[in-house]
């Protein structure tokens, strides 16, 4: 592994994503990507008594399925890197009880998906472990309960609001021993905090757009590549308001994003015309995780995509911080994937 520029890691041993899983809730199951998910729950409760237990169940299901898809015995798994949006990241820590391996809890709000994948890839690439699980989750109701109002409370959301995805995505990153099949992790660009003074927790897309633009710019600056190198560049959850702003910021930096397909997981997850309740689009750590580990990895395996850059964006606010009138610090972490030859 080596450092490129100031923010990017190049994984010279090219760790392999052996298997992934995407488990979602009922609303995501009504969206256009339904067929790409491994498991769709038909109720938000998932047969559990509390929302927190439901999110944990989601995470446990996803980690189990990822190991199954990777064809890896749970005994062989060596490390688990995970995080979620709840206070003290309880979903991932409690799900880690069932895995019984050394665990690193990480928090990057909705950017946790790529943060955990970058760290897992670093562990594998540097020889710190052979098989590492990276994963994250979010649940619409736990997030509403913690960050906003009780789930059944009738408040009118503004047209900039986004809908937290109920879903969990996990990936097993393994050492590239020549026989391992799956997409390779080639770069990770870690983002720095961008805070441009936005305070509205119902307008996260606008708050996060500069962080996404900054990390994308840093990625191309550090690697010397141009957007055309990738078949697809996706942001995590900028949704219908943040994505065009990020496009304008990138145009100002002189990054020719028109060379590639530039989309957003929050827009891909739902059918915005039919699923009106999502308003501006999806958000949450589970959004970029399930779209990446379900839809995007699936397309890479089919050979439709060769190289992809995923830029997961996170708004690092807490209910306390915005009630105290603080602005929202945001971060974005990017991971570049490349399909690993035929059949991968």
């Amino acid at each position: 592994m080596k450092q490129l520029g100031s923010q990017t890691w190049e994984f010279t041993n090219r760790p392999v994503i052996l298997g992934t899983s995407a488990v979602v809730g009922p609303e995501e199951g009504e969206g256009p990507l339904a067929s790409t998910f491994d498991y769709i729950y038909d109720s938000l409760e998932m047969g559990e008594k509390t929302w927190e237990k439901a999110e944990r169940a989601l995470f446990e299901k996803a980690s189990k399925l990822a190991l199954m898809n990777a064809n890896l015995d749970q005994d062989k798994l060596e490390f688990f890197v995970g995080g979620d949006l709840l206070n003290q990241i309880i979903s991932s820590s409690f799900a880690a009880r069932k895995l019984g391996v050394p665990y690193l809890g990480v928090f990057g709000a909705c950017s946790t998906s790529m943060e955990s994948l970058a760290i897992a890839s670093m562990i594998v690439d540097s020889g710190g472990g052979k098989y590492v699980l990276a994963g994250t989750s979010s649940h619409n109701c736990t997030v509403e309960k913690q960050f906003r109002y009780p789930t059944e409370y009738g408040s009118q959301k503004p047209p900039t609001a986004q809908y937290t995805v109920t879903g969990s995505g996990c990936a097993v990153v393994g050492v590239n021993d020549g026989t391992a099949k799956g997409p390779h992790v080639i770069y990770a660009t870690l983002g720095r905090i961008m805070d441009l003074g936005l305070k509205d927790p119902f307008n996260m897309g606008t708050a996060m757009a500069p962080a996404a633009a900054d990390t994308i710019t840093a990625h191309f600056r550090d690697t010397g590549l141009s957007p055309g190198y990738y078949d697809l560049v996706v942001t995590g959850d900028l949704a219908s308001i943040g994505l065009p702003i990020a496009k304008e910021l990138l145009a100002k930096e002189g990054i020719p994003m028109e060379q590639t397909v530039f989309n957003d997981c929050g827009l891909m997850m739902y059918d915005l015309d039919k699923q009106k309740y999502v308003i501006a689009g999806g958000s949450g750590a589970g959004c970029s995780a399930t779209v990446t580990y379900g839809h995007i990895i699936g397309r890479m395996k089919k050979g439709e995509l060769k190289r992809v850059l995923i830029v997961a964006t996170g708004a690092l606010l807490s209910p306390l911080s915005y009630q105290q009138g603080e602005s929202i610090p945001c971060v974005a972490h990017a991971v570049a994937l490349e399909s690993g030859g035929e059949g991968a």
């Binding site: 009780p150 059944e152 409370y153 009738g154 047209p159 003074g197 600056r221 308001i241």
Partner: protein, 199 residues
């Protein structure tokens, strides 16, 4: 000291911030007043580095749809009005059927509206209605009932005492606090002006 000499300007695309501090503090101010911090190491300066919060909010403005205030007002008027008509209907029914005066009928009318609101909240309907209705479902007594019922349901998982008991007034509490404060002020005004006594 000549303040003019100490003036420094650091340009940030179209905006100029003037710093009036003495020399030793200048560098410090320059570094913290621009968000985010400059790109270290690489030496390449991005346009984003010089973007001020004001300039960014100006740039983002055309993309951010504002709340449709007029439409929301119309919807709130219709839906809130409908709830009031329903309440009036219930009150008239009490008066006609049970031979109550309008004052006597008021309390059972409110109780029925609260019950309806709690039932709709429990079935997960009220929050969906309120996305359309806005203030129309928030302002009447049904909105107050919804705020208490939703909080009680949500925090049942944390037990009856710490969960339901401790959180039931999480949202409704401020209505009660400021209602009491407002009533106190009005009461003081009445007492001072000598308007009271009309029971």
């Amino acid at each position: 000291m000549n303040n003019k000499e100490n003036l420094i300007k650091h340009g940030t695309k179209g905006r100029e911030t003037v710093c009036l501090l003495p020399v030793p503090f200048r560098i410090f101010v320059q570094e913290v007043s621009i968000l985010p911090a400059k790109t270290k190491k690489s030496g390449v300066k991005l346009n984003l580095d010089g973007l001020t919060p004001q300039a960014y909010q100006e740039l983002a403005k055309p993309y951010v749809p504002s709340r449709p205030v007029f439409k929301n007002c119309i919807r709130a008027f219709l839906s809130g009005g409908l709830i009031c008509v329903l309440g009036q209907g219930i009150q008239e029914a009490f008066m006609a059927i049970f031979d109550m005066s309008s004052r006597e009928a008021a309390s059972p009318t409110v109780a029925i509206l609260i019950l309806l609101s709690v039932i709709l909240t429990s079935f997960g309907v009220y929050d969906k209605l309120s996305q359309w209705c806005g203030a129309g479902t928030a302002v009447p007594v049904t909105g107050f009932a919804n705020s208490m019922c939703s909080a009680a349901l949500e925090h049942r998982a944390e037990g009856l005492v710490l969960g339901v008991g401790g959180n039931m007034f999480k949202l409704a509490g401020s209505v009660i606090v400021f209602g009491v404060v407002a009533a106190f002020i009005v009461g003081v005004v009445y007492a001072v002006m000598g308007w009271g006594g009309a029971h």
